[in-house]
């Protein structure tokens, strides 16, 4: 069964070889043919081939489904009181994670599964079609493994984040040994990636040396590498990620010149998470500086109950345009193709024959509306 989609005022392909030849590969008055959940053909509607079915999208814009490459979705409880306190002036240092760990451990599988499914559905309703899901609120062998097992039910992009924080009451050395030993062995079969919160400025997170040990152990177990780095202050996270060839280093809020140069000269994606700076009232990362240096950027939500409980990629795009110095086109690319790069995927984040038919429809005539109409739920994943 082939499906012809017409009435697309603007199609964003992220393929420079088609359309206007820009980074977004814009095709005006476009049509798309979908066969077996994959893109079969893209072109001007005047040249569309005959198909079994046909759907008119009414002059809307269509973009690749958002790729949210950084999300913490396996948790129970909420921390709105902590958010309100922070807005009234209480600073964030990562300590509130323990609240979520306690609630998550106490929840049974069905409750976690229900919460996870509702969050993925909330994302999809806002246009996100690929999401990475991290563990990191279990922090015991059994609880981390459980989080990854449940995450694997909703995505192939599962990330072992035993190295999220050192749990209260556990000695640092003992916990690093656990994360690199027994916990890793239990979790690796359920994960594609390993990640670590490398942030010497936080007493709860990990130093550069600890983070390196965790990442090397993960690599030894066959996992790809990701890093939370340079969120709260300058530190060793970015340099470590680049040195180890991590797929992505995330946050990148406080960078030294050497960090920018390292990112520009590497294949490691810098994933920016401006919803965190919004929700913690913190200084934003400087996307312009990174782009001008030649780094590859992704945008993601960091959806989590402490520092940024948003599932909205359009909101993240709007922040990137207003506060990070990105153009609407750069922001959309980073939220789609950039996220795909950060996950080493070439079947998503781009619309071309052979790619997945992950299409997001905007109630708008062009992609600029994602930032122009901030707060309005314009985007939704197209159900085929």
């Amino acid at each position: 069964m082939s499906l012809l989609l017409t009435g697309i005022a603007e199609l964003v392909t992220n393929d420079r070889s088609v359309g206007d030849g820009s980074q977004l590969g814009l095709v005006r008055d476009a049509a798309v043919v979908v066969t077996d959940a994959a893109i079969a053909w893209i072109g001007p509607s005047s040249a569309a081939p005959p198909c079994d079915r046909r759907r008119d999208l009414g002059g809307r814009a269509v973009v690749p489904g958002f790729v949210d490459s950084h999300a913490h979705l396996v948790f129970a409880g909420e921390r709105s009181a902590e958010f309100a306190a922070r807005m009234a002036g209480v600073p964030y240092d990562g300590g509130g994670i323990a609240t979520t760990v306690a609630a998550t451990r106490a929840a049974d599988d069905d409750e976690l599964r229900r919460l996870l499914a509702s969050r993925v559905a909330e994302m999809r309703a806002q246009g996100t079609t690929t999401v990475e899901v991290k563990s990191g609120y279990g922090l015991t062998v059994a609880d981390e493994q459980r989080a990854l097992r449940l995450a694997g039910e909703v995505t192939s992009e599962t990330t072992y984040l035993g190295g999220h924080v050192v749990p209260p009451g556990v000695a640092r050395e003992d916990y690093v040994a656990l994360v690199t030993g027994e916990m890793l062995a239990a979790c690796a079969p359920h994960a594609r990636w390993i990640d670590v919160f490398c942030e010497p400025a936080s007493p709860h997170a990990f130093t550069g040396e600890e983070a390196e040990a965790i990442l090397l152990a993960g690599r030894g177990a066959g996992l790809g590498l990701r890093v939370h780095g340079n969120q709260l202050a300058r530190g060793p996270g970015v340099a470590l990620a680049v040195a180890l060839g991590a797929a992505s280093v995330d946050h990148c809020t406080h960078l030294a010149r050497a960090d920018v140069d390292a990112l520009a000269g590497s294949a490691t994606v810098a994933t920016l998470l401006p919803g965190v700076e919004f929700s913690t009232r913190s200084p934003y990362p400087d996307a312009r500086r990174l782009l001008d240096a030649g780094a590859t950027l992704a945008l993601a939500t960091d959806c989590n109950p402490g520092t940024c409980f948003t599932t909205s990629m359009p909101f993240v795009i709007a922040l990137a345009v207003r506060d990070l110095g990105m153009t609407p086109a750069e922001a959309l690319w980073a939220a789609t193709a950039g996220g795909a790069r950060a996950l080493c995927r070439d079947d998503v984040g781009v619309l071309r024959p052979g790619a997945r038919a992950d299409l997001t429809v905007l109630d708008a005539p062009n992609h600029v509306h994602l930032a122009y109409r901030c707060g309005v739920p314009l985007a939704r994943a197209l159900e085929l």
Copy 2:
């Protein structure tokens, strides 16, 4: 027919005489009885009376429907290219309004009616149940009258804004004479309010003297008074609004000490529109200073195609909490009861027996989530 609503984890009434006695009048584990589209009873679910029908809201929070007291919804066309240019550094001075005026004049009634209805529906889907609608993109007698006639089909809160900008090619004195003469006579039967863009810093808007003449003429025609004031720079707008006893003065971004004192000592509501500062990358108004002085605040979208094309009151609330120094409770009050004050309404913005049953349901256990989960479409007007 009476309808019993249960499963309300938190009910915001804006009535200090019930619940926790706070400004929001919070009732936990609440129930509401609705009869003939009005509130008949509010109380704890354990004390709910029997009703003809019953609906369980599943542990969600319920708040008064948002009252968006400042919106420019009668227009055609869009200005996403101007937005993108502004984000790239081009300053805003009000001149782009002419683009929308041309597109609006060129649209026929059915097209304007369709666009207006879609915007009101978009608002309702995000929890707004009362909206004020201004003219101001016609700027001829016939086009302003038409805008108000169409606005009156969707709301009783219609505002004559012939004094939006001086149209290109028309002498200022001639235009003020038209706005206070023939245009007013044609528009007053279709409007409840008159408004004027008093902003000497903009060459397109009106001076204090011109604004005063326009407002006095409107009052003479039986209209209530509203003012756009102090958006781009300090100026005479706020003082004029207070002196004339306007219901509201809107923007209030650049205030002298005397402006703050005048607002604090008056019944004129200061309506803040932080979506504009977000979308124009401008300094935010200082809500904290106004609240601490004793002024009454409202929050509204200012939905318009130039400086803020959002319909989302939750987004405005989140900005107020992050960037204006308001608590989540103060922001929600301003977006509901405050908006009602700005429109001199006592049947909306509050939930108590006799008020309209304008209920907005949040996919969240409490109202703090409106800011805590910024960007996520949590709010929707309840269809009874």
